[in-house]
């Protein structure tokens, strides 16, 4: 199983060695897709986690018990269909083809499973149709 999650570290937890225990105690592999510490010293880490289903659940439970908020990626980036005008200007900017136009209806669709939360479309959309809740 392979899943992408967003971890929110509240102030004070950022410098604690928490994530490495995913490897050590739960036998999970991970890739860091994005890491950020904001001025308030809250951290955001986007991970792609690989491993056994059970271990994944336990690992996530451990993170939660340590005070880390977890959220799966697809919940983080969203397209507001009421705001999107289907212009297509975001499409060539997306690194993972998570935005595509339906050639028949000309509607632009957001495919959450492909999104890596890079944030480019949020800057690029002139109509504030794309948002991220990091």
């Amino acid at each position: 199983m392979k899943k992408r999650v967003v971890l929110h570290f509240p102030t004070g937890l950022v410098d604690k060695p928490i994530v490495y225990r995913l490897v050590k105690d739960f036998d999970l592999e991970f890739n860091i897709l994005k890491a950020e510490v904001n001025p308030k010293e809250e951290g955001v880490l986007v991970l792609e986690i690989k491993g056994d289903d059970q271990n994944y659940k336990k690992g996530l439970a451990y993170l939660k018990s340590s005070g880390v908020k977890t959220q799966s990626l697809s919940e983080d980036v969203a397209m507001d269909k009421n705001k999107c005008v289907d212009c297509t200007v975001c499409i060539p900017l997306c690194p993972t083809q998570a935005l595509e136009q339906n050639p028949k209806t000309l509607e632009v669709n957001f495919i959450q499973e492909k999104c890596i939360a890079c944030g480019i479309c949020i800057k690029a959309c002139p109509y504030a149709a794309m948002s991220i809740s990091l």
């Binding site: 005008v85 289907d86 212009c87 297509t88 200007v89 975001c90 499409i91 060539p92 900017l93 209806t105 000309l106 509607e107 480019i120 800057k123 690029a124 002139p126 109509y127 504030a128």
Partner: protein, 400 residues
């Protein structure tokens, strides 16, 4: 040959054949050019995209005691209005920004709220905070005003665009090694993407390339309401280079348009933020083209294969006022999702929405067919292809 009067008579009788541009193309496909020409009375064309030279003027009504905001200061939801008119007539342009917006000091600026967004809020019927200061006169003694206003209470609220509906536009790319933030969107380094901004075959002025039916006084669909062409637009450039079918190969004609903001619809009038550039307003415009003769019919039948645009470097050439073309591409190529520049494959994105443009063409067709919208004879020609009218750069002269 058919006159506009004859077409309007048919509309009145419910007998007119009004087609959208897409329907016209399928009809030609099905029945051939000759038959299609005989059948169709008018064709609807449309576009939807950012149009920076959009603005509104409005009259708030007088206060008691009176205030002369003219030559004073006024903001709507914090966005500065222009006050150089009479006591309570105000202007607000789409690109206006709150004084305290950081602009590009935090680069690239996000430009989340400005004139375009205020205009959209007005159209949505939301209350907006008007804050004004005046210097006070004997007949207008009041010096300060802070009140909510709503579009329904304004005496007049009018959209007035001094340039839009561009007849063709550049394709923007970036040849530098860092991303740039332009009015044509975010451009990735090293030809990472190419952005264009025209409805192509559906774009009003590309369907009437010689301005044969469109002119001053033409009734149009303007952001949901009926509006009018009031003049040619600023930077109107009929002399731009054209194909043998008189279709411009680069930005050419433009329109100035006017209409009642109170009747507009926020589906077709949307506040727009260009990261690193500023705020603007996206508008939907529809133009019906009466098929008065075969020449007009042939012009209106143009497809994306026959419309070309120039690829322009927005990193080096455009900022310096150089109009060098890196290559010519057709709208059919642009719509395919990728073009070739310098032997490289470059993915394309569009700033204008073809989906919305098609929606507008359909609504306009519907209104005409139902006898709610009639076609107009232009009152005056726009400066045409042989007028010698051009778009010139500023000649700077330093003060002595």
């Amino acid at each position: 040959m058919k006159t506009i009067q004859e077409i309007n008579q048919k509309i009145k009788e419910g007998k007119a054949q009004i087609l959208t541009k897409d329907e016209l193309l399928s009809l030609i496909d099905k029945k051939g050019r000759k038959k299609a020409y005989k059948e169709v009375d008018a064709v609807t064309t449309a576009t939807f995209g950012p149009m920076c030279s959009s603005g509104i003027y409005f009259n708030t009504g007088h206060t008691k005691p009176r205030i002369k905001i003219g030559a004073g200061r006024a903001t709507l939801d914090g966005v500065p209005c222009y006050t150089g008119f009479a006591a309570v007539d105000l202007l607000l342009g789409a690109t206006s920004l709150p004084e305290n917006d950081p602009r590009n000091n935090i680069y690239p600026g996000s430009f989340g709220f400005g004139g375009g967004h205020v205009i959209e809020k007005l159209v949505r019927g939301e209350d907006l905070l008007l804050e004004a200061r005046a210097y006070g006169t004997d007949c207008y003694p009041r010096r300060e005003l802070k009140t909510y206003i709503n579009i329904k209470d304004l005496n007049e609220a009018v959209l007035f665009n001094i340039r839009n509906c561009y007849q063709n536009y550049n394709v923007a790319v970036n040849t530098s090694n860092k991303p740039i933030y332009t009015y044509m969107g975010i451009l990735k380094p090293d030809l990472g993407n190419a952005n264009f901004c025209s409805a192509g075959y559906l774009s009003p002025l590309l369907c009437d390339p010689r301005y044969k039916t469109v002119g001053i006084g033409t009734r149009i669909f303007l952001a949901g309401a009926s509006g009018f062409v009031s003049w040619w637009g600023t930077q109107h450039n009929p002399s731009a280079e054209r194909t043998d079918k008189d279709i411009p190969k680069k930005p050419a004609g433009t329109l100035a348009v006017i209409g009642d903001l109170k009747k507009m619809d926020s589906r077709f009038l949307v506040g727009t933020s260009m990261t690193g550039y500023g705020v603007t307003l996206s508008l939907g415009i529809g133009l019906p083209i009466p098929i008065i003769d075969e020449e007009v019919f042939d012009s209106v039948s143009v497809t994306d294969n026959d419309i070309f645009s120039q690829v322009v470097d927005y990193a080096k050439d455009y900022p310096q006022g150089q109009s060098r073309s890196l290559g010519q591409v057709s709208y059919a190529q642009l719509r395919s999702g990728k073009i070739r520049i310098n032997k490289r494959e470059v993915p394309t994105g569009s700033l204008s929405s073809l989906r919305k443009a098609k929606e507008i063409a359909l609504i306009l067709k519907d209104r005409i067919t139902k006898g709610k919208f009639f076609l107009t004879e232009k009152v005056e020609d726009l400066p045409g292809l042989d007028s010698g009218y051009t778009f010139r750069p500023l000649k700077e002269r330093s003060p002595k």
